[in-house]
Structures are given as structure tokens and as C-alpha cells.
């Protein structure tokens, strides 16, 4: 159920920003998809349809709070305030990319924004989140960490260890499970016997919620609640956000394992459209503004595409840089 009152504590600007960010992610992914032939990498995963989770979640934290991401990281990157130009350039493997073309889509990271990186290994973000949270705790910084992961990742052993340790040590980590119904081609109900993953929270002694991941305000509110608990020393929370990815697993996926009806049904539950309706109903924006935002967003995307296109390829002579902080002599060379 995507409706109800808009939260009082958010200003109009903030409410509009939520919309802008979701739209920016959507348009970004559409552009990537369209230009897919130019990217050439088969391992690019889009966030289309899931925008409300990253955006709602990042609205609930401060700029210096941390997030860890997944292989499907563009949305988290943008939501956390990462620069779209260097994101686009990274996906195109250019020197001006946020990781200088070394990482690519699956490794986009912006440490200056406390965005600790997309990750090609399913389930590898949460263990790292523990450490960042511990550092914050040991230094009394009051920062929290949001760690995003999928329904597929939920069945990885690393997740279990992470949730248990976070709860045992009361670390300020929010576990955000993006249940988009599939781990690659495998429906989550074939990979586990449970219906809602949030039930697992009890097994670690933390609170768990299952919410509509397509309702950006519900996401925001729930994460906010969890963040407050974490900041006050109450430890971690598990939040399962039900959602759906509109596109295939990767931009190359023929996606034959999901029915057109199922896809259609979820497209009708578009998180952006629903939120737009609420903004209009709440008289936060009007048609003109919508039009303006849409245009500005497209301009931004075009610029980022231009930036990426005109950017240089990395210089092959630098290929061995940054393996270590300072170059060392390799054993065998």
C-alpha cells in the first residue's frame, strides 16, 4: 500500500529531492540500458524498479553515515550522493570514472561520500559493514551503517555471521534486505522455505520488519526508526523491503524465467509513479515542476554520458598502480 500522509518532519525540498533522486536513478539506468551495446560488459545490473529503497534509506541517514552496496549498486551510489558523471564514466571504464575504470559497474564506490562500494560477491558487504560500525562505536562517532543485500544473498553464510555478530555486539548496522523476488533466475521461495525474511531477525535477537519496498516513505520511516535505535546503542535491525527488478538480472539477461504478467503487475506498482501521485495530491509539486525535473534529469544524464564518452581510457602504463599503497617489487617479476 503506497499512500497515506507524507511525513511532517520532511520539508518540501526534501520531499522533492526524494523524487528527483529516484528519477535520476531511473533515467540513469534507462540510459545505460539503451547504450548497452557500447558498454560491452555483460555484468551490469540495473536498479530499475527498486529506486525507493536506496533513496528512502539514504534519506534517513546523515551524509557521514555509511552504506555498503551490492553488485546492483548504481542506485545506492546515486542515493548516497555520488557524482553521476564519474559513475557513468566508471561504467564505461574510463579514467575519469570514480574508480578510474578499474572497478566498473560492480565496484562503484565513493569513499568521500561514505559509500563503501558495490561488491561483486553476493553477501560480502555486510561483514565489512560490521567493521565500519565497530570503528564508529569504538570512536564514539555515533555514525550508523546501512548494508544493502538481496534475497539471494540472504542465504549466504556470511549474512548469518554478520547479523549474529552485529546483534551480539550491538553494532549500529541496519540490514536492508532488498527482496526483489529473485536471486538471478531463482525465485526466493525456491531458495528458502520462509515467506518473509524478517522473521530471521528474532534468531539473532534483533527487531525485524517486512515492508513495501516500493513505498519510499515507508522505507524512509522504517529505516529512520532503525537508525534511531542504532544511534542510541540499541544495535542492529533487519528490514526486508519487498520490491521487483523491472529488467533482467544483468543488461544482457534474456529474462525468460519471469512471466510478462508478473512483470506487468509490478510495473503497475512503480515506486516513482506512486510517489509522484502522492506529491501531487499533497500539493508539493505540480505538473510544471514535474516537467522541469524530468528535463533537468535528462540533461544531467546527457551530460554524464557526454562526460563518459569524451573521457579518456585509462593509460595502460598505469595498470599496475594502486595494487598497494606504495609500489612494491612483486615476487615473481
Amino acid at each position: 500500500m503506497n499512500g497515506g500522509e507524507l511525513p511532517k518532519e520532511l520539508s518540501s525540498d526534501e520531499l522533492i529531492n526524494i523524487y528527483k533522486k529516484m528519477l535520476l536513478i531511473r533515467k540513469f539506468e534507462q540510459r545505460i540500458t539503451k547504450d548497452f551495446g557500447k558498454i560491452k560488459s555483460p555484468l551490469v545490473h540495473t536498479y530499475t524498479g527498486e529506486e525507493a529503497i536506496a533513496v528512502g534509506a539514504c534519506m534517513a541517514i546523515n551524509e557521514d553515515d555509511y552504506i555498503t552496496s551490492t553488485h546492483r549498486g548504481h542506485g545506492h551510489f546515486i542515493a548516497k550522493g555520488g557524482d553521476v558523471n564519474s559513475l557513468m564514466a566508471e561504467i564505461y571504464g574510463k579514467e575519469g570514472g570514480i574508480c578510474k575504470g578499474r572497478g566498473g559497474s560492480m565496484h562503484v564506490a565513493d569513499f568521500s561520500k561514505s559509500m563503501l562500494g558495490a561488491n561483486g560477491i553476493v553477501g560480502a558487504g555486510p561483514p565489512l559493514a560490521l567493521g565500519v560500525a565497530l570503528a564508529s562505536k569504538m570512536r564514539n562517532e555515533g555514525k550508523v551503517v546501512l548494508t544493502f543485500f538481496g534475497d539471494g544473498a540472504a542465504n549466504q553464510g556470511m549474512l548469518h555471521e554478520s547479523m549474529n555478530l552485529a546483534a551480539a555486539w550491538k553494532l549500529p548496522v541496519i540490514f536492508i534486505l532488498e527482496n526483489n523476488m529473485y536471486g538471478w533466475s531463482t525465485p526466493f521461495h525456491a531458495a528458502t522455505a520462509i515467506k518473509d525474511f524478517s522473521i530471521r531477525a528474532q534468531g539473532y535477537g534483533m527487531k525485524g520488519f517486512t515492508i513495501d519496498g516500493n513505498d519510499v516513505i515507508e522505507v524512509y520511516k522504517t529505516i529512520k526508526e532503525a537508525v534511531d535505535i542504532a544511534r542510541n546503542g540499541g544495535g542492529p535491525t533487519l528490514i526486508e523491503c519487498k520490491t521487483y527488478r523491472w529488467q533482467g538480472q544483468t543488461i544482457m539477461d534474456p529474462d525468460k524465467y519471469r512471466s510478462p504478467e508478473e512483470k506487468e503487475e509490478w510495473k503497475n506498482r512503480c515506486p516513482i509513479k506512486a510517489y509522484k501521485t502522492r506529491l501531487i495530491r499533497g500539493e508539493i509539486i505540480d505538473k510544471v515542476m514535474i516537467q522541469e525535473i524530468e528535463e533537468m534529469t535528462l540533461v544531467k544524464i546527457d551530460e554524464s554520458f557526454k562526460f563518459a564518452k569524451e573521457n579518456k581510457n585509462p593509460d595502460p602504463s598505469t595498470v599496475l598502480d594502486n595494487v598497494y599503497k606504495k609500489p612494491i617489487k612483486y615476487g615473481g617479476n
Binding site: K40, S41, P42, L43, E90, G93, K94, C99, G101, R102, G103, G104, S105, M106, H107, N119, G120, I121, V122, G123, G152, A153, N155, Q156, G157, M158, G183, W184, S185, T186, A190, A191, T192, Y257, N313, P314, P316, V319, L320, V323, Y330, G331, G332, N333
Partner: protein, 328 residues
Amino acid sequence: MVEETKTMRGLDAIRLAIEEEMERDESVFIMGEDIGKFGGCFFVTEGLLEKFGPERVRDTPISENAILGCAIGAAMAGMRPIAEIMFADFLTVCMEMIVNQAAKASYMYGGQISVPVTIRVPFGTGIMGAAQHSQSFESWFMHVPGLKVILPSEASDFKGLMKTAVRDDDPVIFFENKRAYYLTGDVPLDKDFKIPFGQARIFTEGDDVTLVATGAMVQESMIAATKLTEENIHCEVIDPRTLVPLDKKTILASVEKTGKLIIVDEGCKTCSVSAEIAAIVVEEGFQYLKKEIIRINTPDVPIPYSPKLEKKIIPNAKLIQEKIKKLI
């Protein structure tokens, strides 16, 4: 009698071998992530679910330890499972089951059992996989006694070695080079076509220099070798095909003939397959060596995403040619 063959890609040859073995032996089944309805990340197992049903073609959760534990346990109970780990890079999450369980069960339980499991693992570069989807870890497993380590480079070898793997009574880790998936070759249709472990394949004979190569590097070496015949340089290109057991004899015999050895290997240089082969030859064939042994490897660097960068570090025919000419 003419052997019937069919031209197909490496990945089709693997599928054919699996299909035939599943038909032949009820105890063979296959499991892994997205190998069923989706047909596998590289479409190696396409069509098997339709043919054999979900009991014998099992899509699993993303739980690599459970996948391998399940396969190894089933093998202990007398089945012949084939388990797929989607990328070699993900072996990091399930080393335990391979290294401390499958490899050691026969020995540490005093020979009470054996573990006839086959673990299939795509590996290598070439798909812009970057640091976590491009790695070559085969040398790790050569360092683990109790495992057999197989690494074919060509379609008919894929078929023949996969069949041997499935019928073998010991745990086999079967590395499938991504680039070799798409190379075509003539594959025997004989349902009992098997290639024994421990026999290298000589791709081309020559007197001037021995090239030992694995996986995608075999093709690169062959291109270099072919090119160099124009300059009257004759390379002997050898693909060991199975790394444990390793056919030292063929390699040593070749070095005896040529006196010169170059090893070409996609793994990062330090402690790679090439190190072991160089060490064997300097230990057991020193008297044959006329020159230093050259290792051509990917340098010690995580694999970068940008194709321009990746290309810079992965050994190719041109580099091999240069190194050969320098050595001679």
C-alpha cells in the same frame, strides 16, 4: 572405422558429456546456481532440466558451502554429483568443503571411503569481469593433495576429460576457461570417449622451443607458434590438460629435445601453475636446459575492468612471439 565427430563449441562439448553421463548412470546429477531453468550463467547446462527433471538438475540457493557440502555428502553416500560454482572467484566462499572435506576424506578416514564428486568452475578473463569475476585459482588446488585438477582448452578435451572426471572415484575440480567455451572443435560422438588424466596433449611439434600453455593461453601460443614457422622457428606447444596428475614426462621429453622452455599461463605470476612447471623442469630436467625458463603470466595485479587495461596485462600471441624470439 571412422570416428564420428561433430563440430561444436567447448561449452557444448561439456554439456554433451554431462548429458551422456546422466543418461548412462542414474547416480549422476547436477546442482548449482541457476543451472536449471536459466541453463547456467554460461548456458552450459541449457536443456538439461527439461530432459532430466528437477530431481537431477537442481537449482540451488546462493549458498556455496551448502552446494558443495551437499554434493560431497551425496558422493560419500555413493552418488556421483556434479556441482557448479558459477565463477572461480566465488571459490573463496567455499574452499572449506573442497580443501578440508572432499580432498581429505579418503586419507584422514584411513581409506574407508572415496568422494566421487566433480566440481565445475568457469574461470579466466575476457568478459570485463574485473577483479572479482576474472580470476584463475587453479594453482591453489594443485597445492591441495587429494584433489584432481583438470583444465582443458579445447572442445574434444572438454568432453573426454569431463567424462573421465564424472567416472573418477576421487574429487575432481574441473576448470573451464571462459574463452575456451567459445572455441569450436571436432568432438567425437562416441559415448565412451574418455581422455585419461595425466596425459598432456601436444598441439604442435617443434625442435626449437617448448611452449607449455593452459586454457586460453593454448590458443595464443598456437597463434604465436604458427606465425613463427614463417621465420623458421619451430615451437612445440604442449597443453598438460590435467594439472594433477601432471604429465611431467611429456614436458621433460620436449625440453630434452628443445633445451628451451616457455610457460604461458593466465594466472597471476607468483605461485601460479607456471611456477610449478618451471620448478619441476629445473629440478628434474636441468641437464636439458640451454637457457633460462621464461614464465609468461598475468602480472601480480587484480584484473581491471577497462578492456584497455585488461588487454595490457593478459598474455597474448604477440607477447609470446616476442619472448620466444628473445629466448632463441
